[in-house]
Symmetry: C2
Subunit: 156 residues, 2 copies
DNA sequence: CATTACTTGCAACCGAGTATCAACTGGATT
DNA sequence: AATCCAGTTGATACTCGGTTGCAAGTAATG
């Protein structure tokens, strides 16, 4: 199996261990799943993938591990505009925050980095004297493909 | 009872009726609650307030009416960083989008309008050819008061 | 005021996430 | 390598926000 092109596997594991956290078989499995995911996964999907590796893993353990990662700022939790129910999605926190755009028609999620976004965060910290820990910018609307395919829809 | 200073009451009602929607006693009550709210309310709070006016209103009707308002773009749904569970909060959609900042210590919600935010949305529409319908920018961190009161906390 | 499509209230349901607690185990200590 | 124990796990039951199905009720139209 080819390694993910973005980063060496085991970074999340290394990060947690460097913080003195116990590395169990289950955690290693779940971290591996999160680390190698190519799309945004919800807790149920993470559980399913983890069980392919370790069939006895419980969903409670998945939730607990995700909370652990959240508390340590190693994953970001996304709503993706609640396009399909109330579930949450997870992704490894990137170096640079990005925006998630969710198409209300086709459901496609697009990511976008922007200098303006970085500057906006700077402005918030400065003008509001607010120390930012985490941000979540989600946009709902119609993507380029759906706008051309269904032009009427784009103006709704 | 003094009228809310921000806007004439009944605007939501008028908006819905102009779209040909049936105006029931229950809807009028719920719209009134949403319209005159000074803070962000969740569905349960809206139900409680609506029941003070019409004690037989059912929570299902509240959820249905909120969905109606959402579909018509008349209210925005907020997570407020899930500081206290998974509930959603609602506010009348303002003319100009704003940012919600949630303090992870004291729970205070602060709103912030920004020219940079408006420009960022313009950039998204232009560069991504994405037609924006709704945006949600939420920021978690530590507010000015908590930073001065608990300086150690601000660097966590 | 008769009609009818839309809306409501009730009850049952659903699914994501959490609490509890006995059994288990990573990893530090010897 | 055997011991120890605080931290972790899995099973179960639970909470809670929100939805569905359906019979009864009602707003708006003529």
């Amino acid at each position: 199996m080819p390694l993910p092109e973005t980063e060496a596997p085991g970074r999340l594991q290394a990060e947690l261990m460097s913080r003195g956290l116990r590395m169990t078989r289950q955690r290693r499995t779940i971290l591996g799943v999160v680390e190698t995911a190519k799309q945004h996964l919800d807790a149920a999907q993470i559980l399913r993938r983890a069980r392919k590796i370790d069939p006895n893993i419980d969903r409670v353990t998945v939730y607990r591990t995700l909370n652990l990662l959240k508390r340590h700022g190693l994953v970001d939790e996304l709503d993706l505009m609640h396009l399909e129910g109330e579930k949450h999605f997870y992704e490894r926190r990137p170096q640079r925050d990005h925006i998630h755009m969710a198409c209300l028609r086709c459901g496609r999620i697009t990511e976008f980095e922007s200098d303006l976004f970085d500057r906006l965060k700077g402005q918030i910290q400065r003008d509001c004297r607010f120390h930012i820990v985490v941000t979540r910018l989600e946009v709902g609307g119609y993507c380029a493909q759906c706008r051309t395919a269904f032009p009427a829809r784009a103006s709704v």
